[in-house]
């Protein structure tokens, strides 16, 4: 197994494979669902006084396993030292550095317009699939592309991500497993932290002028673990209809009540992750957003699943691969952190959190 890191200017010029400069070691890369590629880092054995354009911050960085591009982002922070330590940030984080604007530089909350215009201005993404419609009313002034995408996907129970191919995708959580995990570990215990049964959504109602603040509630009728109420404020999205507000509330509740979250993460060693037909999967190719069906772990379903007869499955929320040890660290979607605001900001993106950005724990 041979890994390499290739960097290239954001305009596609001056490609260079970093491992040609010196020994690359300690390579790790991570993906999350949502957001796709999040962070990666490696050590580079070059002299402290070394300099090369391939390590310039802001260059597009691609991690290859053989010839398979498994991670994509930008060079973030090359720290001189012996060895150098080079940190990279996934492409999704660039959304924080681009304003959601129309071609006339007017703020927009429409994801398609905002993304396409940002790409024209230099955002190194590719968009080949349709995006959800904008959430909320016209005339909003969202303060980052991240917020626009978070709001729009949250309203339709989707998540957005950019993986190694730099293509922006939006998708719902998968419902069929990609992998079977022969567990040597569990993702920790089940916890009622972050669990929601009744979601109150506060919004501006456009039925009246001026618009009044109203609240809709989305509830699950099934509360085996008790009642857990949460308030989400989307007044920043402007005046919307009651129907839209209810739809948004339903979508956000759906993303929060699948089952109880886990409190930990799981370490996966070679040979422990299989495809559904029982063939070992190369761990370097695993990424967040795919579903896992663990086998052999003690995960009493009555402690966490809404439907006891369901086979336990979870969607990978955080996925980090360590090249040197050939091990994966996985955490289910919603496994961390431990309060709803953080969950929405990290996993879903809080519509109300105007500073929301891909947060990498």
């Amino acid at each position: 197994v041979t890994f390499g890191v290739r960097t290239v200017n954001q305009d596609g010029s001056q490609p260079f494979p970093v491992q040609m400069l010196g020994q690359v070691s300690g390579l790790r890369y991570a993906t999350a669902w949502p957001f796709g590629c999040t962070t990666a880092s490696f050590d580079l054995d070059v002299p402290e006084g070394f300099s090369h354009f391939a390590l310039k911050p802001g260059r597009i960085a691609e991690v290859y396993d053989g010839i398979h591009r498994v991670w994509g982002g930008t060079v973030q922070d090359p720290q001189r030292g012996t060895p150098w330590h080079v940190q990279m940030t996934g492409c999704a984080a660039l959304a924080d550095d681009y304003q959601p604007l129309t071609s006339a530089a007017v703020p927009t909350a429409d994801p398609t317009t905002a993304v396409d215009e940002a790409i024209l201005r230099g955002l190194p993404w590719l968009r080949r699939a349709a995006l959800p419609a904008q959430a909320g009313a016209a005339g909003q002034t969202p303060n980052s592309l991240t917020q626009v995408l978070n709001d729009a996907t949250a309203a339709v129970t989707k998540r957005w991500a950019i993986f190694a191919d730099r293509q922006l995708i939006t998708a719902s959580d998968p419902t069929t497993p990609t992998y079977v995990l022969i567990a040597a570990d569990t993702p920790g215990s089940r916890t009622v932290d972050n669990y929601v049964t009744d979601l109150y959504l506060r919004y501006y109602d456009n039925a009246t002028t001026p618009a009044l603040v109203k609240t809709v509630v989305a509830s699950t009728p099934y509360r085996p673990f008790g009642r857990y109420e949460r308030l989400v404020d989307i007044t920043a999205q402007g005046a919307i209809s009651a129907v839209t507000a209810q739809s948004s509330a339903n979508a956000q509740l759906a993303a929060s009540t699948r089952n109880l979250t886990y409190s930990g993460q799981v370490l996966v060693q070679p040979g422990a992750l299989l495809n559904r037909g029982g063939v070992p999967v190369s761990l370097s190719t695993v990424r967040a957003g795919r579903m896992i069906e663990p086998r052999g772990a003690s995960q009493d379903p009555t402690f966490g699943e809404l439907y006891f007869t369901t086979v336990i499955r979870w969607v990978i929320g955080d996925c980090e691969y360590d090249v040197d040890s050939d091990t994966l660290t996985l955490a289910p979607v919603g496994a961390k952190p431990n309060d709803l605001t953080s969950v929405l900001a990290r996993v879903m993106g809080s519509p109300t959190d105007t500073t929301s950005s891909p947060a990498y724990a």
Binding site: V1, T2, F3, G4, R6, Q14, P15, F16, P17, Q19, M20, L21, G22, Q23, D45, Y64, D65, G66, I67, H68, R69, L126, R128, A129, D165, Q167, I182, A183, A184, D185, Q269, P270, G271, A272, L274, N275, R276, G277, G278, V279, P280, V281, S282, S284, T285, G296, A297, S298, S325, D326, T327
Partner: protein, 618 residues
């Protein structure tokens, strides 16, 4: 520059007792399971050895001894150097060393007499090798020509004229959606003989494609009623996009028509010609054949549009103008070779300087090594079943255009389940004429199982490929863990079907697949992709592995065999930049490609120094 230093001849260096040559350490991972006792030990990487070299310097005086010490220190502190050990039997073993350190036992009296005791500690690469190198090589390139079919619709077969293969279905309008009608074709229809009028169906391997044109007409009588205030009084108006799907035993072909307009005065609409390909003749030596419309077991016609409709309509399907695709005389030359490179001595994976030559300029050079392939594993698959492909340069614009409207196109490859075990990267060779995007989906299934593995990737014109009639390019689609469901040894022969489908849609004509490569993710792969500007590509390539300092890994290319014009093309390497060899026989996939695929011969030579654990074996 320091020359070689002899350190055991007593002039002035002598190795004293306490020498330790060290040993490479295999790094292992212990994998445990919750429900199974014991742990599995895995690991491939071997870490460095540490050499301890106690050296006594015996020189004439203090200054001579000091100079000798300084010389040792200079060498030991280099980034990279070698230590050569000549055994009693004359065998020579080379250690690849890196920055070490020197300790001196201080004794001023002895120093005055020219005697200094040093202990030199040297980290070295884990495996040792002889000073000489060996070279294994072979010819690469098209090991076999593959006769493939090309489009040529110039030969009309016996029949011309519409035949009433007709059926009437009920088309019910509900609101704005016209429902699908599905009917069985009249199987009493006339057979269309080929070869009857002296046309020749060429003996083609693997398959002959039959070409027909299917006519569908749609009678919309009664479908549209005048509705007040719907697009204006007195006019019922509908715009519908129609999809016609014809299903035969071999699968189905679908055509999505342009928008059809119908109104009260135009209730019968004849759909445009639909061009349908059937792979009815599967006998390699067939010289004639029969096309029977009955092969079309059913069709569906569906549409969704605006407007209001109700009532029943009917649809008619017929066949006209049967044509064949005879083979062109040309053959396609596969750019790839699956290679078993024998004669690699040593006991560990071996860095090698690999030199590749080709008789035409190469813009894409792919090398892949499967570390421990299962018996029968073939990284290079050729398509079976229906595939539209041709010799490069052999198809023209009009023929390619006939692919328009066929929508999704699928090429199917097969491999034996027992030859696969693990995660493989799927690489296809695709030419796309005019599509702006093309989503390639690869799905694998094992005969007898409904568990599938699937991966897809959207290729983007201008980013992933340059559209054009001869724009072959290797495309990495993604990884599949194969077989999708494991099989016991008793069923190793089970067929794994790997279907590659394109959905570039109408206008994406010229999608062509030649080959599919399975790159073992537990192995190594090298991909050089040169930009296609100017006169792209080179005929000679050399991949130089990194030395023990980590530097020096380079890829050179040029047009002269002697290397006199070679320059580094390292910047265009994707992924890692070197390939190791397996001891024994290295299983290599070699692809020498350019957009027109005209490389017809080449060579590959690997120069290596065999790797050993304790000492070079002669």
């Amino acid at each position: 520059m320091l020359g070689p230093l002899e350190i055991n001849d007593g002039n002035p260096y002598k190795i004293r007792a306490g020498f330790d040559g060290g040993a490479g350490q295999l790094e292992t991972v212990s994998v445990s399971r919750l429900l199974v006792d014991g742990e599995v030990i895995t690991g491939e990487h071997t870490s460095n050895r540490t050499i301890v070299l106690p050296i006594t310097v015996r020189a004439a005086d203090r200054s001579s001894a000091t100079a000798a010490v300084e010389e040792i220190v200079q060498i030991v502190r280099r980034d990279a150097y070698t230590l050569t050990w000549t055994g009693d039997d004359g065998s020579v073993t080379v250690f690849d060393c890196m920055k070490g350190h020197v300790e001196q036992q201080w004794d001023l009296n002895q120093h005055k007499n020219g005697v200094v005791w040093l202990t030199v500690t040297i980290p070295a690469l884990p495996f040792v090798h002889p000073p000489s190198t060996s070279t294994v090589g072979t010819s690469v390139g098209p090991t076999a020509s593959v006769q493939l079919d090309a489009f040529d619709n110039t030969t009309a077969l016996a029949h011309n004229g519409t035949v009433a293969v007709q059926t009437t279905g009920k088309i019910e309008g509900t609101g704005c959606v016209m429902e699908t009608v599905a009917n069985t074709i009249d199987t009493s229809a006339t057979n269309y003989a080929t070869g009857a009028n002296g046309e020749t169906l060429y003996p083609i391997y693997p398959y002959t494609f039959m070409f027909s044109r299917a006519l569908a007409s749609l009678d919309m009588t009664g479908l549209f009623t005048v509705v007040s205030n719907w697009y204006g009084p007195g006019v019922a108006y509908s715009e519908r996009a129609f999809t016609l799907r014809l299903t035969s035993a071999g699968g189905w072909r679908e055509w999505t028509g342009a928008t059809v307009q119908a109104n009260a005065s135009n209730t019968v609409y004849t759909l445009p010609w639909v061009q349908v390909l059937f792979d009815l003749l599967r006998t390699p030596s067939a010289s004639s054949g029969t096309f029977n419309p009955a092969a079309v077991t059913s069709y569906t016609l569906s549409g969704v549009g605006g407007g209001y409709s109700s009532g029943n309509g009917s649809a008619t399907w017929g066949v006209d103008d049967l044509r064949a695709y005879p083979a062109l005389a040309g053959t396609i030359t596969s750019p790839s070779t699956a290679l078993a490179l024998a004669g690699v001595t040593g006991i560990a994976r071996t860095p090698a300087t690999i030199t590749v030559s080709a008789n035409q300029r190469v813009t894409t050079l792919l090398l892949a090594r499967a570390p421990n392939p299962r018996t029968g594993f073939n990284p290079r698959l050729t398509p079976a079943g229906t595939v539209f492909t041709s010799a490069p340069n052999a198809y023209g614009g009009s023929a390619v255009g006939q692919l328009n409207g066929l929508g999704t196109y699928t090429a199917t490859y097969t491999a034996a389940a027992g030859t696969l075990h693990g995660t493989y990267l799927v690489v296809t060779r695709i030419s796309l004429n005019s599509a702006t995007t093309d989503t390639v989906t690869v799905t694998a299934t094992v005969a007898g199982s409904d568990v599938t593995e699937s991966i897809s990737r959207t290729l983007v014109a201008g980013v992933d490929y340059t559209p054009g009639p001869n724009a072959y390019k290797l495309q990495v689609i993604g990884e599949l863990t194969l077989p999708p469901t494991d099989v016991p040894a008793t069923n190793y022969g089970a067929a794994v079907s790997i279907a590659v489908s394109d959905s570039g849609g109408p206008g994406s004509a010229g999608i062509q697949h030649d080959e599919l490569y399975l790159i073992d993710m537990s192995g190594e792969a090298f991909l050089l992709s040169l930009p296609l500007t100017g006169t792209p590509g080179f005929k000679y390539f050399q991949i130089v592995p990194p030395d023990q300092s980590g530097f020096g890994s380079q890829v050179f290319a040029g047009m002269q065999a002697d290397g006199s014009d070679w320059v580094s093309v390292t910047a265009y390497v994707l992924g890692h930049g070197a390939i190791n060899l397996n001891p024994g026989t290295a299983s290599l996939l070699v692809v020498l490609d350019n957009p027109s695929g005209n490389v017809t011969s080449g060579t590959l030579a690997a120069e290596f120094s065999p790797r050993y654990f304790a000492g070079a074996v002669s």
